[in-house]
Amino acid sequence: MSDAIRLKVEKIDKVFKRRDKPSVEALRSIDMSVAEGEFVSIVGASGSGKSTLLRIIDGLIAPSGGRVLVDGRAVDKPGPDRAMVFQQDSLLPWKTVVDNVAYGLTLAGTRRADAERTAQRFIDIAGLQGFEHHYPHQLSGGMRQRVNVARALAVNPKILLLDEPFAALDAQTREIMQTELLSIWQETRKTVLLITHQIDEAVFLSDRVIVFSARPGTIREEIPVTLPRPRTLELKRSPAFVELVDHIWKLIEAEVRAGIKQS
């Protein structure tokens, strides 16, 4: 990991204005930066604006104030330097796995043969060999999320944005996907910003965990994770790991409980 700052978020505010309803302040004055090759996670109660921040960084929506810098340059719309893996299923159901993985490349005008060759490389990395010509509805949830990750990686972004990518998976599949994500990250050396509501997932994967407070979302605390790498699932049973998870949980417990009562 070098010290160069890849992603910088400066004083981002977001207020959703709605017709006939009170507006929602989703984010207030978010400042953060992510170094090149760093793996950073954001945890926070549901509704604390995590997805909104990720969509602003990706350029899908505009902030009400502040700006996003990639390698020092302000960005205000989606670009090939960032790629997103969405919380909801977002594969094209009428395209096969290989065509889905190649989707971003073909949109960018890459020749079909080249796009397919690149797609095949990431299909291999994501462990999807043999499923190239399957359709998304023929795959399990875990396999579909691998396709989503492969599709984002295929455009060779500098920054990978992941919005609760494993939330819909069962516990065992999730653990396997976590270790696979780690090895992909080690192999590709991407800068990763991951959202999760699972604290142990954040600690297990990250160099740093950013804890959000509930609405409006603000950064409550940034916690460096100095646990040694490479990490295996055994780490999750070590006292240092458990202690860190417990510390973060205490930071957000009150808000999560309040959120449960509200909904």
Binding site: M84, F86, Q88, L92, W94, Y135
Partner: protein, 260 residues
Amino acid sequence: MRQLYEFLEQDNRSAGFARVAISTLAVLLVWQLVSMLVTNRLLLVPPAEVAAALVKEVESGAMWTNAVATVTAVVTSFIVSVAIGVAVGLALASSRVLSLTGGPVLSALNSVPIIALAPLFIAWLGLGFASKFVLVIMVAVFPVVVTTEAGLRATDKQLVEAARSFNATPLQIFSTVTFPYALPFIVSGIRVAWARALVGIVVAEFFGSFAGFGFAILSASQTFDTARVLGYVIMLGAMGLIGSVLFATLERRLAPWRQE
């Protein structure tokens, strides 16, 4: 028996053919039994006599003349209906103002039995191709318009957002997300349009033409030739069935993920 039952339940081509064969046989059987009870041959004739009448029509060349007239007229007007319907549906889906102002007019027109205007169309356009053409378009275009607009509007927001995240242009969003998503809807509208087009063509031919299945049915019934009437009705039924099976298959092919 049990094995036959399980075979028929399968979702493959030969089981499908077997199902059609069995239901056709059942209809023929019931028809045969009823025609043995109803002995007035002006009202009902048994299947064998209808088959004989059909053979006679083929031998005399009348079948060919009528088939050419009906099929060319209905296929050309149907294709034009689909083209107009998709174009209008696209326009309505892309403009909110257009949809709000044009929508009520369209649904009013859609619920009026336009078929009842057939005599008027023939008075305006004369006997022959033109009146058939216009009448078929008038009845067949609406289902395509409605399903095209609905399909384009139903598009999955999440898929559009993913495309935007990959920097897709509005045209790319249309061609890779919105339109493929709408396609199965559009085909279901086309399936309905085909059934309506067949009704339209027959009615147009009843009122004004010198050839075609509708014309043949009318002239046969004026000479109380019930066998010939039923023979041509069966021809029309076959056309309807072929279209329906074809478009239903296409719909399934275009949206395999909806089966699960």
